[in-house]
């Protein structure tokens, strides 16, 4: 009886793993770049060598070249951010650290350099001290990349379906009860991760966030440049949300709610 139960449980885990393995295989395969041979790796190691020799201009050129191959990789972003940091382009450095952070949110190197770069910006950010729950939610939100959230949501979805299927197929009461728990757990996981995915997706794809890349940027109340009519001034490295853009102008909103029109060329989208 007991042995049979263990066998059933084993079978169940095998079914569960077997249904999820294709997902991981697909995820792994989809990370492979387009066939470009070793060109990208060559460019990367060349740029790294340039960085080590403190030739940051050449390093930037090399990393930018890799990006031209439509490669999206946190290490490339990180190294490019470092190169910009070393050439005192704080805005560009923050831009690429932010890009890297989006792909690899738990990378300590990226986090530390991003913090350091932010500290060096001119504009002071007044942080509201969040409550305990808000803090927990933010930490959770910041701990997973969009890809991870999507993958976990998918695995949770498949698991819920597999468990449900097993539920209508199995008759052992003990097994049914444990499957009920697993199903509940799966549904909770699915809800949490898919909601977070949705929020993050909306933040990253439906809204435009940009970094100021020129040393000083004046914002005007309307998309017309009139001297002496500056609404506020932001400096290099400041993060702002782009609300709309018109010709050379973009309307930005700062964290504190200030809105103004700035020259679009001084911004770079994350």
């Amino acid at each position: 009886m007991n042995m049979q139960w263990i066998r059933k449980l084993l079978l169940m885990s095998i079914i569960w793993i077997a249904t999820n393995i294709p997902v991981f295989i697909c995820a792994e395969i989809s990370l492979e770049p387009q066939p470009t041979g070793d060109r990208i790796e060559q460019l990367f190691s060349e740029a790294n060598r340039a960085y080590e020799q403190a030739d940051f201009e050449r390093a930037i050129e090399g990393y930018e070249n890799i990006l031209n191959y439509k490669v999206i990789n946190p290490a490339v972003y990180f190294n490019l951010g470092n190169s910009y940091f070393k050439t005192n382009s704080l805005g560009k450095a923050i831009l690429y650290y932010e890009k890297g952070f989006r792909l690899s949110p738990r990378d300590e190197d990226i986090l530390e350099n991003l913090t350091l770069a932010r500290v060096m910006t001119v504009d002071r950010v007044d942080h509201a001290v969040p409550g305990l729950i808000a803090n927990l939610l933010t930490t959770f939100y910041n701990s997973f990349s969009l890809n991870e959230l999507a993958l976990i949501s998918l695995v949770a979805m498949i698991s819920v379906i597999v468990f449900f299927s097993l539920l209508i197929l199995t008759r052992s009461p003990i097994l049914r009860r444990s499957i009920w728990y697993l199903t509940g757990f799966g549904i909770a996981l699915l809800l949490i991760f898919s909601t977070t995915f949705y929020v993050k997706y909306d933040n990253y794809h439906n809204q435009t966030t940009a970094i100021v890349i020129s040393p000083k940027l004046d914002a005007y109340p309307a998309p017309i440049q009139t001297t002496g009519d500056v609404a506020f001034t932001v400096h290099e490295g400041k993060k702002a949300r782009v609300l709309q853009s018109r010709e050379d102008w973009a309307e930005i909103e700062l964290e504190n709610g200030w809105k103004g029109w700035v020259n679009q060329g001084s911004l770079d989208e994350i």
């Binding site: 990208i40 890799i66 990789n73 190294n79 197929l169």
Partner: protein, 601 residues
């Protein structure tokens, strides 16, 4: 016989006993009454209310009071009395409640209700008159009266908004000593921001007792409470009265008695009168534009820890505001810095001194400033505007302007300046950024999964898994509940198995076995397909069975001939059975099953 009679007698008595119990219970009546020790009392007096429950039962309820209008309940105690008169037990429960009147007037106490064993008992009601303590409220009249009273003193009756008001409570007592104080009710200070001040105490923590003569009568007095109040709204504000319970030791008049004991202790409740305060708004005439609500007397000073420093280095600017008033609520002065000086949020600290009865202290603002480029900087004077309630004018105090000289920066990097963060950021700056990453192997491109077909394919196929499971479960359920369906589903499989057996027999040239198996394959298939008893389908009956199910006559003929040739070959006494013949019959039988399989009726 005797035993069975005895049983009936016992039963009779038991039933009689049970019948009598309700009667004896209803005979238990309860008297519920109340009484007070006096019907006229003053506001600083207390009233003893006794609730008595008496009856013949031993299980009497006790009366409990949770609240009573116009009075505060100070304490409750219960006592029990038993008496046996002519063999009947009667007992009394007394609940003694000490009441403190809240206001003067004529009040009715009771009637109270008591629920016991489903019955409601109602007590009598009493009239009590509460008079003012003394004839009038003013202290001079109060002083003429009583051995104990609580006096309240305010330093002014009319004050400005946010000005300090000091509230002091003295307990006066004449002949005896006070051994303990119990604060029954603290004064309500709605509309004030209150700061408790210390009261004078000796080293052992006892209140300091001082002598005081009022109207020629010598009293002892104790300062029991002192509070600094800052009104936060304007208009007439009322400070509620305070109620104090003093434990008083009364010396006995009997010299013999006093020789052995120190007298007895009595509780005295004293109540202070309410105080009305008029709070004036700050004058609007002459109010400077930058006034942020500071009231009191203040000084302001500012200094930096160095006058000369390299650019991008930090200098600390300390601003101190000291004086008397609500130090905690002092606003942060506006710091106007040259554009090229960076500043952190200040670290604010306060030092409050309450010992003199006036709230005094110092509020310090510590700013970390960083001049970003070399040159001469001047920090504008910082000023504080406050209202001085003593002379009724607004005043402005300012610091001097401070000059800072920044020499050449020690760091070459023009970007090394700091913003936000606080002092941690300075530590961070000493570190270099983390070194670039190296990647061994392929550099993989992290493309978004959620845009790729496989992702949505997997989502879709998970739904397919569900559909599959659902169909399987449904089919299994039908197989289990519907034998006909189960047989029909398995008919073809069984037939195929039979044909395989037949092929084996053919290869071994076991002709009799071959024909038997082939014939059974056919007949069993037909029986399974239409859920018929296996024995009922034979070569003779098969024609009718097929006809019942609207089978083509051509097919029927073919099946019948196939069965017949099997049976013929099987039961023929002897003869050669050529392999070709067997193969033909097997092929024929297979064909028949295939045709029947397509036939849906």
């Amino acid at each position: 016989m005797v035993i069975s009679h005895f049983k009936y007698i016992v039963l009779f008595w038991i039933s009689l006993l049970f019948a009598l119990i309700p009667i004896s219970l209803s005979a238990q009546d309860i008297q519920f009454s109340i009484k007070v020790d006096k019907s006229v009392l003053t506001l600083d007096d207390q009233l003893a209310l006794t609730l008595s429950v008496s009856g013949k039962s031993k299980k009497l309820p006790t009366a409990q009071l949770s609240s009573i209008p116009n009075f505060d309940i100070s304490g409750q105690s219960t006592s029990q009395n038993f008496s046996i008169i002519n063999g009947a037990t009667s007992s009394t429960y007394d609940t003694r409640v000490v009441l403190i009147p809240k206001k003067k007037g004529r009040f009715t106490i009771g009637p109270f209700q008591l629920k016991h064993e489903g019955k409601l008992y109602t007590s009598n009601a009493l009239q009590v008159t509460v008079k003012n303590a003394g004839a009038a409220v003013n202290p001079s009249a109060k002083r003429g009266r009583g051995d104990y009273f609580l006096d309240v003193i305010v330093d002014k009756k009319e004050i400005y908004l946010h000005e300090q008001l000091t509230l002091t409570y003295y307990l006066y007592f004449k002949p005896n000593t006070v051994s303990g104080l119990d604060y029954k009710q603290l004064p309500a200070t709605i509309g004030f921001w209150a700061e408790e001040l210390d009261v004078p105490k000796d080293r052992a923590g006892n209140f300091t007792i001082e002598g005081k003569t009022l109207n020629g009568i010598g009293y002892h007095r104790v300062m029991v409470k002192r509070t600094a109040l800052f009104p936060s709204t304007i208009g007439e504000l009322t400070i509620g009265s305070m109620i104090l319970n003093a434990k008083v030791r009364i010396a006995s008049r009997d010299p013999f008695d006093s020789f052995f004991s120190r007298g007895r202790t009595q509780n005295k409740t004293v109540r202070s009168s309410e105080v009305k305060i008029h709070v004036k708004d700050l004058p609007s005439s002459g109010r400077p534009a930058g006034f942020k609500g500071a009231v009191g007397q203040y000084r302001i000073e500012a200094k930096t820890d160095k006058k000369t420093l390299p650019a991008n280095d930090a200098v600390t600017l300390t601003l101190k505001i000291s004086g008397s008033g609500k130090i905690q609520n002092l606003p942060e002065p506006e710091l106007n810095l040259p554009h090229d000086i960076k500043a952190y949020d200040p670290e604010i600290s306060e030092k409050i001194d309450k010992s003199s009865g006036v709230i005094k202290g110092t509020k310090s603002f510590e700013y970390v400033l960083i001049p970003r480029f070399e040159g001469e900087y001047s920090i504008d004077p910082l000023s504080l505007i406050f209202f001085d309630p003593k002379n009724g004018h607004y005043q402005t105090v300012s610091t001097k302007s401070i000059a800072i000289t920044a020499t050449e920066s020690l760091t070459n990097d023009p970007h090394i300046f700091i913003s936000g963060g606080g002092k941690e950021a300075i530590k961070l700056l000493n570190k270099d950024i983390r070194f670039i990453k190296t990647v061994s192997g392929k550099i993989k491109s992290v493309s978004p999964f959620y845009y790729q077909p496989w992702y949505w394919g997997a989502m879709g196929s998970s739904v397919l898994i569900w559909c599959g499971a659902w169909f399987f479960a449904r089919r299994r359920g039908r197989i289990e509940s519907d034998i006909g369906y189960a047989r029909k589903l398995q008919a073809a499989r069984h037939a195929r198995k039979r044909f395989a057996d037949a092929t084996k027999a053919m290869k071994k040239n076991e002709s009799e076995n071959f024909y038997g198996v082939t014939a059974h394959a056919l007949t069993d298939y037909i029986a399974d397909k239409w859920n018929l008893p296996k024995a009922s389908v034979t070569a003779d009956t098969v024609e009718e069975v097929l006809k019942n199910h609207q089978m083509d006559s051509g097919v029927t003929e073919r099946i019948v001939s196939c069965l017949n040739s099997c049976n013929f070959a099987r039961f023929a006494p002897s003869g050669s059975h050529p392999l070709d013949e067997m193969k033909r019959i097997l092929g024929d039988a297979r064909k028949c099953v295939a045709i029947l399989e397509k036939h849906r009726k």
